[in-house]
Amino acid sequence: MTETSSSSTKAQRSPGRGGLSGLLHRHENLRGFLLMTPTLLVMGVGIIAPFFILVTMSLWTRQGFDFDTTLTMANYARTWNEPIYGALLSRSFWISGIATVATVILCYPMAYFVAFHVHRNKMMWIILMTLPFWTSYLLRVFAWKVILGYEGVINSGLMAVGLIEAPLEFLLYSQEAVIITLAHAWAAFAILPLYVSLEKIDKSLLEAATDLGDGPVARFMRITLPLSLPGVIAACFLIFIPTTGDYITPALLGGPDGAMIGNFIQLQFGPVNNWPMGATLSMVLMMWISLIALVFLFITRLAREKIA
């Protein structure tokens, strides 16, 4: 009796909740998926679908202006066999690897300073440090062209001081120019994650280390650095992955020797008119980046275990 009465009160109450809200009330997973729907839709339409188009196209080949749609690995074989692709890929990884390391090393002290030595208006400091990044990426690259140029700020400055007699030509249209520009242009992506991870460090751990006899260097190596490693790793990924495929910086500042894989991918979709090859190169780039990222994660995990 009691069993039926309680179930009947439930039955009376549930119509008030309505079909959908009742359903949502009962299934937690459904609520979660409903909340994620907009994101999932965007992901599906904007990322997953194009990705499959890219994979399919990379297995096609060019035929005049059209595509031969029989699936083949011919393009992948070409990227493996022709030395130009390997050379451009390794140059891209080299350039963006150096740029990543330089950016993280240069930004770490800045983030460290704000996290540990600024006590008021921290947000203002962060905003000030990221202020240059409110301008467009293209403008920043052009600004570097003006700074590094033949009659640019650096060359005319050095000449005015009398340190050099003729302008330094390696500054522009070189791999160095691309590295310098990338290191500056992506600094905001290093400062923010580094700051967040440094800010979270419990200051009492540092005091404890001092009490137990650690000097400043040992304290940094044993506490600050390991605890800020998540930020360092995030910063490395945030910079390395997009800069490897960067296109506009090498196009404007790289000169003949500074061209990266991104420029070559663009050419495949432009004048060379070989879209399947462009798709293949994009896929190969993605695979290599994933591989390097995995190796990097593995190494940092080893390093952390060792420190711990």
């Binding site: 005049g64 202006f65 030395p83 130009i84 050379a87 451009l88 140029g149 033949y150 009659e151 302008p167 030509e169 249209y173 000169g255 003949p256 020797d257 061209a259 070559f264 050419l267 979709f269 432009g270 004048p271 060379v272 008119n273 070989n274």
Partner: protein
């Protein structure tokens, strides 16, 4: 009530969170709709035709008659660095009203089926267009129509600094751009549509034989020889002009306009008349088959063919123009100093006139040249 006031009110607790959110929503809606209103007020660029062209042709000086008819508005522009890039983009679905290929590319452009014939009777300036420029290989469509209305013609040659390049009493020659003495101080347009043909002249390949394996090898060899000497390849004239003016480059392969503009600024440069002959071309205008504004397309073309535009093209850019009346304002000496003539065939056949090639050739050429530029 201004924004500062509202923030103050929230801080003092006078304003409820809901009221504040509501005013935020209002300002958000206002900001989001602002551009729509502003665009409508601004005589609407979407009413204008779109002109897809080389860099440097997107300036008001070329569109006097067009602007007079359209409340001072210019057409919309899209700019390309090479005509093959432009064709690829349009094949990918980019629709414009008018584009700007050259005689060498025109038959291939027509073959894509992406263009509609031009009816000359709709162009007011057509009777003054020099017939020799219309009579190009592959330019006749059915019913007396044409595919490409000729607009500009001229030469690709070397612009060099007279104070920094020492010819040592020799004739001007393409060898300047292959001279190791100037290593790192030479430049070039990056598009194969110019560079590869210049390579053919340098390698001594007759344009009739340019589509042979031997020619390919010979040209590739000279391009590879040149590449380490290059400061940079670019599709951007301004980059080359600035580099020449600062002395960063002493010589570069350019179109006539770069030399004429630098001379106007007082930079000691000369547009060479190489002993092997310059590269010559005729470029013109084609209408896209799905052009959304065909009337505007004809207006754009007619404006470019006008005498007024011709004066600017000849005087400020040093290009030949297709309107015979545009030449009346210049005497023979001035035209000669610009390397131009009232009879285009004199200039065009004195140099090496580009010859249309197959799509396979064009693609192979671009692929090879891009690999050479990348160092392979």
């Amino acid at each position: 009530m201004d924004i500062v006031d509202q923030l103050g009110a929230v801080r003092e607790g006078k304003m409820s969170r809901r009221a504040f959110t509501r005013s935020l929503l209002a300002s958000g809606v206002a900001i989001a709709t602002l551009p729509a209103g502003a665009r409508r007020a601004m005589a609407a660029p979407e009413d204008q035709g779109t002109y897809f062209t080389w860099g440097g042709y997107d300036i008001p000086e070329l569109f006097g008659p067009y602007m007079a008819n359209n409340n001072g508005e210019m057409p919309n522009f899209a700019v390309f660095g090479g005509s093959e890039e432009a064709l690829t983009k349009m094949r990918g679905g980019f629709v414009v009203d008018v584009s700007h290929p050259c005689n060498q590319a025109m038959p291939r452009w027509v073959a894509t089926g992406l263009f509609q014939p031009i009816d000359p009777s709709r162009l007011g300036n057509w009777p003054d267009v020099i017939p020799a420029l219309v009579d190009l290989e592959g330019n006749d469509a059915e019913g007396g129509s044409i595919w490409m209305a000729p607009f500009d013609w001229g030469q690709t040659s070397i612009t060099y600094r007279t104070d920094l390049v020492d010819l040592e009493g020799k004739e001007e020659s393409w060898d300047i751009l292959w001279d190791p003495k100037y290593s790192g101080k030479l430049g070039s347009l990056g598009s194969g549509a110019d560079a590869w043909w210049v390579g053919a002249i340098k390698a001594g390949v007759d344009f009739k034989d340019i589509d042979t394996p031997e020619a390919f090898e010979k040209i590739a060899a000279v391009m590879r020889e040149q590449r380490p000497l290059m400061r940079t390849y670019t599709d951007d004239n301004t980059t080359l002009e600035q580099a020449l003016s600062s002395g960063e480059m002493v010589a570069s392969m350019t179109w006539a306009s770069s030399a004429v503009q630098l001379q106007a600024e007082g930079v000691p440069v000369k547009f060479a008349k190489p002993k092997e002959g310059a590269l010559t071309w005729v470029c013109g205008l084609m209408i896209h088959k799905d052009a959304p504004k065909v009337d505007k397309a004809y207006e754009i073309i007619d404006s470019l063919l006008s005498v007024e535009t011709g004066h600017f093209m000849i005087n400020d850019y040093g290009y030949g123009h297709s309107n015979i009346k545009a030449f009346d304002a210049f005497d023979a000496a001035k035209l000669d100093s610009l390397g131009l003539s009232k009879t285009p065939s004199e200039v065009l056949s004195a140099g090496h006139f580009q010859v249309p090639q197959t799509q396979e050739w064009e693609t192979k050429m671009n692929e090879t040249f891009e690999q050479i530029k990348a160092g392979f």
